[in-house]
């Protein structure tokens, strides 16, 4: 009988395959750099992320200061160090992106496994119709509508909002995978041995859909990063003065000509971060679920 985790590749072999995979390698490298930037840059910066520098931070005509030795990436509209805020924005984006992805994976995985295992029953029907209804709304539209309806937001509410809205696709994918696993002989054997349903789901189904969960979670981080930026850009995200790439884009858009560095930094980081997690996720999918 196959046991839990039997379908997973051994860790060492998985790592070797990931390192050999070009997309995974590039994505992993970019993610590592992003994490390093988020963790280290604010510590090395001489500036507080929320402190205005009215001495060195002003450009000509009281515009935001351009890149200089004092402020490598210039200053924003209230003359705060752009580099420091980008790094703090990276922290926020990673926190929200990874946290929301984890929540979405948890919810989607649970719903998908239960629906798949109970295929054809009322439980499956109810859960999948719920997913169908949710998926009929474009994700960003749904998130924006709920975000706009919230009176007050914080990093945690944004995380919960994204996580609670982003599990639908995962549920459908995991259900399909569960259907495959459920048809395996070791599941029938487990039933024949009298194992309880929760035990079968936990010990035998979950480990065998874990690879699907891992790469969908990684891909979801990219989606959540983008969604967080969109929410912040539209004002339904994390409130000021917290640095957020989306908010930085919003605050800098009027200066797209006079101070283009206000847009270039956050725009590049949003694209790079989404790309990094996407590449990593794609690579993981190729390796874990060939």
């Amino acid at each position: 009988m196959q046991r839990a985790g039997m379908l997973l590749l051994p860790y060492a072999r998985t790592r070797t395959r990931l390192l050999a995979h070009p997309s995974a390698r590039l994505g992993g490298l970019l993610v590592a750099l992003l994490v390093l930037f988020a963790l280290v840059a604010p510590l090395l910066s001489p500036y507080e992320a929320n402190a205005s520098d009215f001495v060195h931070g002003l450009g000509p005509g009281d515009t935001p200061g351009p890149p200089s030795w004092a402020h490598w990436l210039g200053t924003d509209r209230i003359f705060r160090d752009q580099l420091t805020r980008l790094a703090m924005g990276a922290r926020l984006s990673l926190f929200v992106g990874i946290g929301a992805s984890a929540l979405a994976t948890l919810l989607g995985g649970a719903v998908g496994i239960v629906a798949g295992y109970f295929e054809g029953t009322a439980i499956d029907a109810v859960l999948m119709r719920l997913v169908d209804v949710g998926l009929s709304f474009p994700f960003l539209l749904l998130v924006m509508a709920v975000g706009a309806a919230l009176d007050e937001t914080s990093a945690l509410t944004v995380l919960l909002l994204l996580g609670a809205s982003g599990w639908l696709g995962t549920a459908r994918l995991v259900r399909a995978k569960t259907l495959q696993v459920r048809a395996q002989e070791f599941i029938a054997a487990a039933r024949a041995l009298g194992l309880s349903t929760p035990r079968i789901l936990w010990r035998h189904v979950l480990p065998n859909v874990a690879s699907t969960l891992v790469f969908t979670a990684t891909l979801a981080v990219a989606q959540m990063l983008l969604a967080e930026s969109v929410l912040s850009y539209l004002g339904a995200g994390v409130p000021p003065p917290a640095a957020s790439w989306g908010r930085m884009l919003f605050e800098g858009q009027d200066f797209y000509q006079a101070a283009p560095w206000l847009l270039a930094g956050p725009a590049c980081l949003v694209v790079l971060a989404a790309l990094a997690f996407h590449l990593l996720g794609e690579g993981m999918r190729d390796v874990l679920d060939p």
Binding site: F54, L58, I78, D151, P240, D254, L263
Partner: protein
Amino acid sequence: MSWIRERLLPALAVALAAGLLASAPGCHEPLQAPEAAAHPDDLTPRRGGVLHLATIDDIRSLDPAAVLGGTEAQLDPLIYAGLVDIAADGSLAPDLAESWDVSADGLVYRFVLRRGARFHDDSEVTAADVKRSLERALHPSTPDPYASFYESLAGYADYVAGKAPHLAGVEITGPYEVTFRLDHPDATFPKLLALLPARLVCPGAGERYDESFVACGAGPFKMTPGGWERGRQLTLVRHEGYFRPGLPYLDGMNMIFSMPALTQRFKLESGALDVVSELSGPDATGFRADARWASSRAVEPFRQVWGEAMNVETPPFDNVEVRRAVAAALDREQWAKLKPGLLRPTGQLLPPTIEGFRADLPGQVYDPAAARAHMVKAGLAGGWPKPIPYLIVKQDINELTAQLLAEELAPLGLHLDIRLASYPTFMARTHARGHAAISHQGWQQDYPDASDFFEPLFSRAAISDTDSNNMSFFVDDRLETLMTRAHREISPEVRRALYDEAGSIVVDRAPWAFAFDVSSLRVWQPYVRGLRSHAQYQYPIATVWLDRDPREGKLALGFGREERAGFGLTSGSGSAR
């Protein structure tokens, strides 16, 4: 996987590189040159053409009896005429009234109307319309937020209480003569007759407010069927029967709503808009720095004051020393850098355009040491132990000032917890008792008079539990006395002295930490002629003319020739000469 390597990555790389190159310093797209006037030296107005405007706002109603303010209050004077009007310099000027006189005791005003003035429905304007329109606006069933302004009218209290069918203080003393009797002298009364509630509506409007009313007055422009597409645009056409001969020069005007400032700028440059006055800070700076637009731009008068309203009923701002500390912690000069040239740092209530403003009045000033001393006096040397919720509306400057304020108050131990809220939520909470300890607030004049700043913001009468204009819930007996006396005082000199003392009280007791007065840069294409700054109105376009049809020979963006044809407008319909 190969598509990622072969397509996605190169595409992203190219997009990133293009984005960076496009945004690199030195690659800025300069402002386009203005479109030249056809007859720049000819000052004779020409008739014809449609003026194209836009605003970031939207409007809810065009009924002068139910206008809250904002853009609709700026548009209504184009549709409705009153007995008097506010002139460009802020003085009172005759409008439908030919003349007026006031009794020696200041209690009786007699107005004589022009003969032959006509409403948009071609009926003649008479004294009966004055009384009917005012009673319609002040009736208790009408949601008119300005009704209480007219409390000095004899019989007002009985009328709004439903005890009297008519306003006793408004008498028709002839077909073209109307007399107002006041219970007590009211220095603001003549100016109140220029406000929207006193503007005349067509007889078809009836005697009571009705939401289905289609805008109809005696102003220079009139509505056409379908002229207001809610949420999208408003089109007005010339009122051919306007009582000022030859005016307006324009065939009509079109205003598009909810257009972002950046879009307005592009549409001005492309010629789709003729005038803009809601430019973003950098765009305003760009236009001000561009010599080609030098003769087509103007900084409008400061009509608004902004600051931090502190609720004196809510800790820690129930302590006057804490409020003084906040007032001393605001670095107003730095705040003004958020919109160079358009924010004027101020430490007092009245903007400089208001009679009663005194540049030498000792206002609130930035003094961090004094701010700390005030906190010590308040017994809060270590600061306030809890975060203070601070609601803001997502709207550019508000978000920036909130962050600056939080930064400046943090050293005092006052930690703001900034929360973004929708506009209705912000209004509901900051105007309700006990909900907001401190909030960023502004006040724009309803009419150019000091009373319109003091009384709504700091009088006892302006306090209500759910919809308080007095957002700091500040009451001071001496201030109350001064405001009442000044309101009733006819002598300008005495009024000024009274408001000086009132101003000193609000500066010292600091229910608000005053921050800046706000203006805007108006930019127009040079073929728009006759556009002048106005003390009250953002769109004083009755005397504006186009010296050529700017959309002749090309398809206009937004509201184009085809759409104009739908309103029966003609373009370039000749010259007044």
